[in-house]
Amino acid sequence: MIKFTNVYKRYPGEMDVLQDISLAINAGELVFVTGSSGAGKSTLLKLISAVEKPTSGTIFFENQNLSYLKKNEMPFLRRKFGMIFQDHKLLYDRTCFDNVLLPLAINDSDPSDIGRRVRAALNKVGLLEKEKLMPITLSGGEQQRLAIARAIVSRPSVLIADEPTANLDRGYADEIMNIFYSFQQVGVTVIISSHEIPPTKMKYKELHISKGSLNNVPLLT
């Protein structure tokens, strides 16, 4: 589904952040991208979701070479991903409901169905009764869950989460991870970056980055 071949990434005026990355992610997999802070985890996720361009190398998504994607095709590619950003990127000038509604407005969803889908997503993360509140009034864990609701509301085939549990207590973190696992269970490809692998009984693939390179860790069970 996702395939990197000899991908390099360098930000202007920096050294190579990622070097010679080759990897493959299959549909429906649970993938952890691990590494210490500054290793390049976020950069890797941005390359997958076409937020950043590789400096060299090729990236395929569903047999589509992202380098050949035109600028006006980019929005339609991004709609296939559900993204949870390291800093949430919630909009604090509108209610929880309206935050979750944004992707549906963007991708032109059937208007008669919008309310139902927003509530289904909020329900999934346990925030249904808070739909009218402003995000600023939510706790850190709740904000993270709101960000997840926004990512899943348009039923993407790939969920990408950048350190979704970094600043959360253990209990909250487990809750969040369980939400992700439940999506992977129903066939969604889930890619999560994290300092380290959280304790789990799930089957997963680990991509460990150190100093910008991928150390291929064999698939664990």
Binding site: K53, L77, R78, F85, K89, L91, P103, D108, P111
Partner: protein, 303 residues
Amino acid sequence: MFRFLHNHYHALIQGLIRIRANWIGSVMMFLVIGITLSLPTTGFLLIQNASQISNKIQYEAELSIFLDKEIKAEQVDFLHSALKKNSLVKKIHFEPKLVAWEKLQAQLNLSSIEDGVSKNPLPDAFFISLNTLETKKIDSFVSDLKALEGIEEIVLDGGWVKKLRSILYLIKIGIVILGCLLITVLVVVITNTVRLQTLTYQNEIEVSRLIGATNAFIQRPFEYTGLIYGLGGGLVTLGILKIILVSFNLVADRVENLIGGNITLNTFSVEQSIFIIIIAMFAGWIASYIAAKQAIHKLEKNY
């Protein structure tokens, strides 16, 4: 189609939310647009009224042809018949010098004996109306006449109305040019305001882009904001014109009582009022389009 409409409805609501979130700024914007546009429109309204009045003045080109004092009767008859035959001539009135003299005396209320003026100083004259207003035709007609024997002087009347009309026309053009310049200024001002607004909504623009919004989607609420600025501004302009009109007519009413006559300013037609609003909305739209485009362009450095 329904989705398309819903899309625009969503953008319109977002635009309205942004207007309300910054309502003081929005009201200022309405006033800036309204007052700026009221300058050329007031001028235009005045000129339009002046033209309407000048159009009511019925006029035709008139020639006064004064003859030699020593002219013979046959020559007068010859001239009379020559003028009659000319196709440009609509009406001829011949006034013999005696008649003119009596009229003048009656007007001045004096008699020739008392005054000691025994000799009639006035010439015979033809007063003719022409059935054309074209300067070229009239000019060649006049020079033809001058070539004839027995004609002393020809005076052309009625030209002033034409001059007035051309002056009004020139002023109209000036006002249109002024209007275009002011609209350009408005576009610059609105662009700058919306550009500042895009900074306020930077977060929303960025998130929207990241989760797959097209540029059109991101721009649309700003475009609606601009359209609403234009609509508000256009309505303010119409309001200002109304106030000017009502107060002018109030004053004019009093003056009329003193000097008689009828001075009333007419307002713009419905079509013209709608046109003003459309112009204002167009300015708002084009400005916000430019501003939003720029804001997105800045974020577009990667993809």
